[in-house]
């Protein structure tokens, strides 16, 4: 751990993708993540919420160094890992981090048994001998409650339901005992009736192993059940972050307010009223609007908003918002 007690520090992180419209046209930059900063302590769980295309996956994968960062810094356990080149160091970082992907079927090699899928990271990182690996794998399956483990280990991915497969994905991401895990929309492809079960399971393992957990979701209503922190992302920026309950009960950023207003709870009165949501859709990330990126849709935008990018300010303890209304 670093002296300041953070496991992960992200400083003004950017990930720009080069896109070309034609072979002769000059390259343009798609600014998927464009200046994101935050810190997380060991064992903290955060939900990263935003619409599709807001940059959640890119941010998660850049933090895990699955994308090369364009600019900014990633500090993990006090060490600058932003541009890790040393192979041994990179192996260490891979071992310390894990990823659960959105589509459980796409993320699993279909020709491998569940046993092989779980054994692979152990072999790559030279963990234990054959016997010890078997023990670790059986224990991992038990922890995600795929029991009897002897039944599940020899199966192939297509023989499992989406929920079962997502348990395998969780087991795989955690098998090397990482201290940082990114779960990218881990339940959005699952049915409502099993979603909660998987979220509970992740939460349990996160707590019992003191894992720092980044839960990526577009579904604000599940965040309360999972994490104490919430980050709201819009067009490559984190526009609001703070304690989950505070942000949900007392949203500050106009985008967060819109997001909350858009989400129904099951209620027969809903059909009798209209939702107070702004029109329009998120901007292009190649040529984002100047100033605040939400300004074209913001119901309370001011002149200044269209010219200057708002700074991030701490409005109350640990509750940050990037909006001119609070400067």
């Amino acid at each position: 751990m670093s002296g300041n007690g953070y496991l992960l520090e992200v400083k003004d992180l950017r990930k720009w993708f080069e896109v070309r419209r034609g072979i002769f046209s000059k390259p343009l930059w798609l600014k998927a993540v464009d200046g994101v900063s935050f810190e997380l302590r060991p064992g903290e769980a955060v939900s990263l919420v935003g619409e599709s295309g807001s940059g959640k996956t890119t941010l998660g994968k850049t933090i895990l160094l699955l994308h090369e960062p364009t600019d900014g810094k990633i500090i993990f356990k006090g060490e600058d890992v932003t541009h890790l080149k040393d192979k041994k160091k990179l192996m260490w970082y891979r071992r310390e981090t894990g990823l659960v992907q959105q589509d459980p079927f796409g993320a699993m090699p279909s020709f491998m048994t569940i046993y092989r899928i779980l054994e692979e990271p152990l072999i790559i990182h030279k963990v234990g001998d054959k016997k010890e690996r078997e023990e670790i794998i059986y224990k991992a399956l038990e922890e995600v409650r795929l029991t009897p483990v002897e039944d599940f280990a020899p199966k192939y991915p297509h023989m499992l339901s989406g929920g079962q497969l997502q348990r395998v994905a969780i087991a795989r991401a955690l098998i090397l005992r990482p201290s940082l895990v990114v779960a990218d929309e881990p339940v959005s492809m699952l049915d409502a009736s099993v979603r909660v079960e998987i979220l509970n399971l992740m939460r349990e393992m996160q707590e019992s192993r003191n894992i720092t957990f980044i839960y990526i979701t577009h579904d604000l209503s599940t965040t309360r059940y999972f994490s104490e922190w919430i980050f709201i992302m819009y067009a490559g920026h984190i526009v609001e972050r703070g304690p989950t309950q505070r942000v949900i009960r007392n949203p500050l950023h106009p985008y967060t307010k819109a997001l909350l207003a858009a989400i129904p709870d099951p209620d027969p009165e809903n059909r009798k009223r209209f939702r107070d949501v702004p029109p329009g859709e998120p901007p292009s990330l190649i040529a984002p609007p100047p100033g605040c990126r939400f300004a074209p849709r913001c119901p309370v935008a001011m002149d200044k908003c269209k010219k200057e990018e708002p700074p991030e300010v701490e409005v109350e303890h640990n509750h940050f918002v990037k909006c001119w209304l609070y400067v």
Binding site: D191, I248, L259, A261, A262, P266, P268, N270, R271, E281
Partner: protein, 315 residues
């Protein structure tokens, strides 16, 4: 207005017969919205296809009664159905339709197509009505002359809704009309559908796996499980006091933003429709099951006026 009785749609596959829609019955009144909710694969889209009679090639069984204003549509030939019913009386927004627009045809032309083909409206007039329909769904009419890729996801979805409305049908089937869209765009589309409903006396059959979202439109709710409707009741009843054990658990698994509750889940997964469990199809996952549930299929019990529950607990 619409009365469906014992509707069945089975598919023939290499592995056997898939009983996707298995003796489904419900009614729909004029101007009313029926939400059909259920988990993935329970047969929602199949039921929609059975109603509008757009069937895949591998149909094994297709029977039952679908009567609209007293006329049994199942007695019509395919040609009569195509001419008189599909689009004219019952139209549909298909699951994922916003991504299925023809990329090389202008949006206005695609919206006008059902008018030209179904009703033989001349091209110019049809295009004019398409522009009007676009305005109605909140898209500037100049987009009629654009191609689908030039529209955002939300605008494409509005265009698809315009297409389903242009023939002025009595019933529009909406199959997961917003599931690929973001929540704010989704809320905008729900606002649009509510507005259309207020302005015209149109009935929706709103298909979704999202319980919270279903309450945005539903006057009545049908809960589907493994090819069957297990509960059918008013919105007020359903969202506050569901009766079927499956509906109860499903409701308890919905995360809420505005109220605190402990979330529950249903152990196991929905059954295969190739070989559904005998008796009550929900019995392997039901914590209230009694011995009888394993052997005998429960009847549809009217627990109240217009409230049906397919469960032995109420028989």
């Amino acid at each position: 207005m619409l009365e469906v009785k014992d509707l069945r749609l089975y598919y023939a596959t290499r592995k056997g017969v898939v009983r996707a829609v298995d003796k489904v019955s419900f009614t729909l009144e004029k101007g009313e919205t029926l939400a059909i909710v259920g988990e993935s694969g329970c047969g929602k889209s199949s039921m929609a296809k059975a109603l509008i009679r757009l069937l895949p090639r591998n149909v094994h069984t297709y029977d039952g009664v679908v009567s609209l204003d007293g006329k049994n549509l199942m007695e019509l030939s395919d040609e009569e159905f195509r001419r008189e019913v599909r689009w004219r009386q019952i139209s549909m927004v298909f699951q994922g339709a916003q991504n299925a627009l023809n990329p090389v045809l202008k949006v206005g032309f695609q919206i006008a197509e059902p008018l030209m083909i179904q009703e033989g409206v001349p091209k110019e007039e049809a295009l004019e009505r398409a522009r009007k329909a676009l305005r109605m769904v909140g898209v500037h009419e100049s987009f009629a002359d654009r191609y689908p890729f030039e529209l955002s996801g939300g605008m494409r979805q509005r265009a698809v809704i315009a297409m389903a409305m242009i023939t002025n049908p009595k019933i529009i089937i909406l199959d997961e009309p917003t599931s690929a869209l973001d929540v704010i765009t989704q809320a905008n589309i729900m606002n649009l559908l509510k507005k259309i409903k207020q302005e015209r006396e149109i009935s929706y059959i709103f298909i979704t796996h999202d319980i919270a979202l279903s309450s945005e439109l539903a006057d009545r709710v049908a809960v589907m499980y493994a090819g069957q409707i297990v509960e059918f009741t008013d919105a007020e009843e359903f969202y506050t006091n569901p009766k079927h054990p499956y509906s109860q658990k499903l409701m308890a698994s919905v995360p809420t933003l505005r109220s605190d509750k402990k979330l529950e889940f249903i152990p196991g997964a929905p059954p295969s429709l190739l070989n559904p469990p005998p008796g009550c199809r929900f019995h392997p996952r039901c914590d209230k099951a009694i011995p009888r549930c394993r052997e005998e299929e429960p009847p549809e019990v009217a627990v109240k006026e217009k409230h049906y529950v397919k469960c032995w607990l109420y028989a």
